[in-house]
Structure formats: C-alpha cells, structure tokens
Symmetry: C2
Subunit: 367 residues, 2 copies
C-alpha cells in the first residue's frame, strides 16, 4: 500500500486527535475527509467489533441540512421513497437518484422537524445536487453543510457503553429512530443505526468543540468493556451485505439494481426526480442486480478495481468489494450480476488482476 499525503483538502475531523492517539494505521478519503480504515489490523479490528464495542470517527458522513418551508418538498424531490408517513424522530435510508434514475448517493435522511432535515451522506457531494435543484426550482429553503459530525458506537456492548454516557434511555431507542439526549449540557441526536451488523448507535455531534470531550468520555466509560477505536470494517460489512456507494454502485445503477427496490415507492413519491425512469424500471425489473459472491481459494488481494465475472467467454457481471472472512473461512464478496446468471448457486469465474478464480452466486449475504 502507498502512503496518503496530508493536506487541508483531506479534512481532519473533530475526532482526529483521538484517532491518531489510538494508533490509526490507514485511511481512506470520504467526502473530502479522512476516514480511518485500519487500527490494529483489519482482522483484529473485525474480531474485536464482533465481540466488544468500538468508537468510530464517521464524521465523513457529512450532513446536508434542509431548512425552511419547502424543506419537505425538496426532500421528497430527492428520493423515490415515499416520505409522507415519516415523523420527526425517524431516520430513513433513502436512495437518491437523478432524472434517469441513476444513484447519486444512498444516505440516511433524519427528520428533525417538518421544516428541517439532515441528510447523512455517502461519498459524493450531494450538497451540490440539492443546491442546484433548490435554486433551479426557486424553492424556499436553506441548504448547507452544518457543523455536525457523526460518531458511531458499534458492537454487541454498545448499549452498555452508551448507557453509561447518555443514561439508560438509550436502551429504548428503536432501530432507525433517534432521541435528543444530553451531553455536557448540549442536546445531541442519538440514533440506533450504523454501518455494521453488530448493533449500535450514531451520535450526531453538533459542534466540533464537543468532539474530543465525547470521544474521551466514551473511551473512559468503556475501559472495562474493552472499548477501542474502530472504523467501518471491510470484512464485516461484506459479510453483512452493506453496500458502499462508489464501490458497489455508482450513478450508472438504479436503486433496483442495487436491491434497493424495497425503498422505492415510486408510484406514490409524487414530485420525485427520476420518477418517470424508475416507474419503467419498477415495472420491468432490473436486468442486473447486486448479489453475494463467494470466491473460492486462497485470500484474494484488495479489490481496487472491478473484477469481471465471466460465464465462459462472456462477461456477466463484476465484483466490486471482496475480503477474506475468518468466520466463514472463504472470500466474501459483493458483485453485480446479469439476470441470466444471478440465480442462487450459479458457478462463474472471476478475473483478478493476476489470475482467474472460481466463484459462486448467492442470493443472501452471510449474516
């Protein structure tokens, strides 16, 4: 692996001092911000995530804030998911598409009030799209990136750790709901959510000055729970089928191709951009779709480019994320496969940079 050159453009976060003190060894860049990828090793971090509790600097999940009388209207323009039933206190995973139905981002929308929303974004400058629409449609809404940096607490002991810092009320927060809870006299949105299958929370830290105090409070409160700095774990997220925008999908893909059709209510999501295109897709169904892929043999290298999936001489898809899973004793992967070859158990070949491997298509992920 090569080094990453520091610059202001690769923004530090309110938690960077804590991340460095914890011995981060590698980063990726996400929304122009540093996102840790490894502390001890990907395998050690994985084992620890499944057994204890970790604090994750996910400040790179930047927020796009919509505020004003047209905030709700604009939010519904952005996504084919019907938001009419959504209440303040809820978080919705929302595919965001352009006029052709191509995915621009797959964020979590947080409804703060009827006229105030946060969109907690994946890796693309969604702010620009939202600002462009707001301006083009002359909507009565403010759109900007507030000083809000999510900090995640993930792992089976998350409830115990969080209860020590925020009180036992965290235990009652339901999945994809949030409560406003107090930390050092400030009220923060604490949601039961996060980019792992191990359970946990995301704290929307409003005000960079609160970053290190909260980081330190969690680290101190969790000492006997073996709390450790962590980060989204490549192996665990593939096992769990958690997609990554830019890896497993791009603006070339519709939500239906990404298996996100269940989050599209295109018929009733009146005013949504891309509605015409997606109504067509919803009717006909996608011709390729995300699948769990098992790659046989030894540990695969880092998947730094799409790996073609072949049926004989014909390319029928590609793998975009892959890792060796210690728990399942195989290479777990995420790919996009054409409908002719997406059935459970289909045998394919996957073309790695230096070799061809046998692979198999699975309908469901490992956990």
């Amino acid at each position: 692996m090569a080094l990453i050159s520091p610059s202001r453009r690769l923004r530090r976060t309110p938690f960077s001092d804590g991340v460095e003190a914890a011995g981060v060894s590698a980063f990726t860049v996400y929304n122009h911000m540093l996102l840790p990828t490894v502390f001890r090793s990907v395998e050690e971090d994985y084992r620890h995530l499944k057994e204890a509790v970790q604090v994750w600097d996910v400040a790179c999940e930047r927020q796009v804030e919509l505020r004003g009388p047209d905030a709700g209207r604009l939010m519904q323009m952005l996504t084919p998911r019907d938001l009419r039933s959504m209440l303040p206190g809820q978080c919705f995973y929302v595919p965001i598409v352009d006029e052709t139905g191509g995915m621009l981002n797959d964020p979590v929308a947080v409804k703060l009030a009827e006229d105030r929303w946060w969109i907690s974004i994946a890796d693309s400058d969604l702010l620009f799209w939202v600002k462009g629409l707001a301006y083009g449609f002359r909507l009565d809404v403010l759109v900007d990136e507030p000083d809000v940096s999510p900090l995640a607490v993930q792992g089976p002991k998350s409830d115990d750790l969080m209860a020590r810092v925020f009180g036992d009320q965290v235990r009652d927060i339901r999945f994809f709901r949030y409560k406003m809870l107090d930390f050092q006299g400030r009220s923060l949105a604490v949601a039961r959510s996060g980019y792992s299958r191990q359970g946990g929370f995301e704290i929307y830290v409003e005000g960079s000055d609160l970053g290190m105090p909260l980081w330190n409070a969690l680290m101190e409160a969790g000492r006997d729970l073996d709390v450790h700095a962590g980060c989204p774990n490549l192996i665990e997220r593939i096992e769990g089928g958690l997609l990554s925008y830019g890896n497993d999908m791009t603006d070339n893909n519709t939500p239906h191709e990404c298996g996100l059709g269940k989050f599209c209510n295109t018929q009733t999501a009146i005013g949504c951009v891309g509605r015409d295109a997606l109504l067509r897709v919803a009717q006909e169904g996608p011709i390729r779709q995300i699948r769990a892929i098992e790659i046989h043999g030894e540990r695969v290298p880092s998947c730094d480019r799409p790996w073609p999936l072949m049926a004989g001489d014909t390319q029928v898809g590609q793998v975009t994320s892959a890792a060796w899973s210690p728990d399942f004793g195989t290479n777990v992967a995420i790919g996009m496969v054409r409908m002719t070859h997406w059935d459970e158990g289909t045998d394919l070949d996957v073309v790695l940079p230096n070799e061809v491997r046998a692979a198999q298509v699975w309908e469901t992920f490992w956990v």
Copy 2:
C-alpha cells in the same frame, strides 16, 4: 504518514499501471480518483520538474461535458467570467460560484464547439451542480462525465518531448489554446496548460484504452530528455501561487477573495448564477484575500489543517498550504489574510500544531 487503503471507490486511472511501474510512493484522492503526489521525493521531483520533463497522471481532472443547444447558456450560468468572446480552440480558467458567490470549483473550461464544452474540474463533484441546474431550468443539454482523462507533460523540455510524439505543430500551440492532434489514428485535444509554472501541455485522452499506449510512447520518446513520471508538486505550485480548491479556497470564499476578480466580468456575464452577490462584492472589494506568506525558521511540517495567522491575540487569517522551498531557502506558503493586515511586508505569527512561528505577508508569489 499513514497508508491509503485501496478500494474501487478510489478510482484507478487509465495511467495507473504506468504510475505504479514508475514507483509512485504516495497518493492523494481527488475527484474520487487516485492522484500521485510523490515519486522519488517531493524535493527530487521538484528539482527534476524544473530541469527536465515529466509525465503526469492527472486523470483526476475529470471532465463535465455539456452538449446540446443550451450548452453555451448553461456554461455562462456557471461562471461570472464573460464567455461571449470565447472561441472553439480556447481554454478559459473559470471560477464557478453558487448563488451567494461562493466558489464551488475553479476549473478550466474547454470550448469544443458552440454546442459542446468540457469543464476540466478541481476537486468537487461539479457534475451534480451542473446537472441540478440543467434539470431545474429544463435546459436542452446533456450533462455527463465522459471517458476523458488528462495526461500532463510539464517541465522546460515539454515542447521537445511533445514534438517527438505529436509533431512540431505542438510548438505553435499558444497558452490556454488547444489543437486537435493525432495519436495512433485518434484525434486528441492537446492544450498548452497545466498545474505548474514550468510550461507544458495537457492531453485530453479520450478513451481509456489509449492511456497506456500514450504513456509508454512519451516515456520511450523522452528517454534521452530524462523524462520521468511526475505529479503536481507541492513546493513548485506554492512558489508559483497556484491555488488548490479545497486547500486554499472553499465554498466559503468568493473569487475576489481568491484573487480571481480578474476572471470575473460580473456586470456583463448575463445569466450567471451568483451575479447579484458578486456585483456587490465587486463594488466593495473583498475584506480578506489570498496572499503569499513566508514562514521563517526551519522546515515546517505538512499543512494538514488551517494554521491561524495572528496579529498579537487577534486572528487575521490562516495558512492553508506550506512547504520548504530549496530554491528560495525559506518556507513558502499560501494564506488568506484580512485587509487590515494584508499589506506587503506585514509581520504576523502563524500557529503551527506545536509552535508559533514568525511569518510575513507578500503581495506576489515567488515566481
């Protein structure tokens, strides 16, 4: 420095194989793509750039293509620079601003035809803003990211190297003009431009399949010119006052603050977004502006965050790029300074992470 974790989301380029073979040692991420930052060392690369010729993988300067009857109208909406006099064959550096006059990008616009433009972008998803406007205003234009990857040839021997591959006509290309030249039977836009003060060209490589053939052709043709793989050089670009979007300016800044007022013809750029805001700024002038900053003493560390510029106890600006310059025997830097303290020769203090240094404001850059 930490490592960078490979993933498909940090896109490889059509030249990545060449970059790796040349022994790249560090990257940054730019427009979701890998951009080399160091080959031998920043200092060695710097010396070589000033004396010989380098081939740079700047595929990360992605293009936003505008095509169709409203392409020209949309292009003028994007920038306060008056584009009416611009002809096909020209490249214009164009500040792009939002409705408040805040910088969204500082790209080079390439006019291919009256109804076809490329915008060669700095590090932000400008595509989203352009698509949002096109959709909101129902313009008759196609907006997308084509398969075009710039390859730069920079350094004093650039003309000689380029003439060997593209013919002597490259010598006649004027600054910020391009010609369509032939390589292996394909016609490519070759512009006299690039992100250094050493002279050179940018080749807009249309078609990823041409990437490595062109890379190899340049490397072979330039063997006796001491051609080497290179990249935008931190020291050289600061000496030359070449700004970096995300480092030296953000959407918080107007073009006037960035010293780009000379590229704004706000009065006559009819239809430009942000015109109202910028007319006000043009009239009153900015209250802070980019300046060359000399930082005294030993070699400074990497500028990975804004360093406050202080006049006594008052913050009057910040430094956002800095490096030790072997040629000038001092630390060269770029900062934004309030008008109260921006005069040539003003003494200030700059707050580095672990110490305070004396610094001085200069009106002009080193070269």
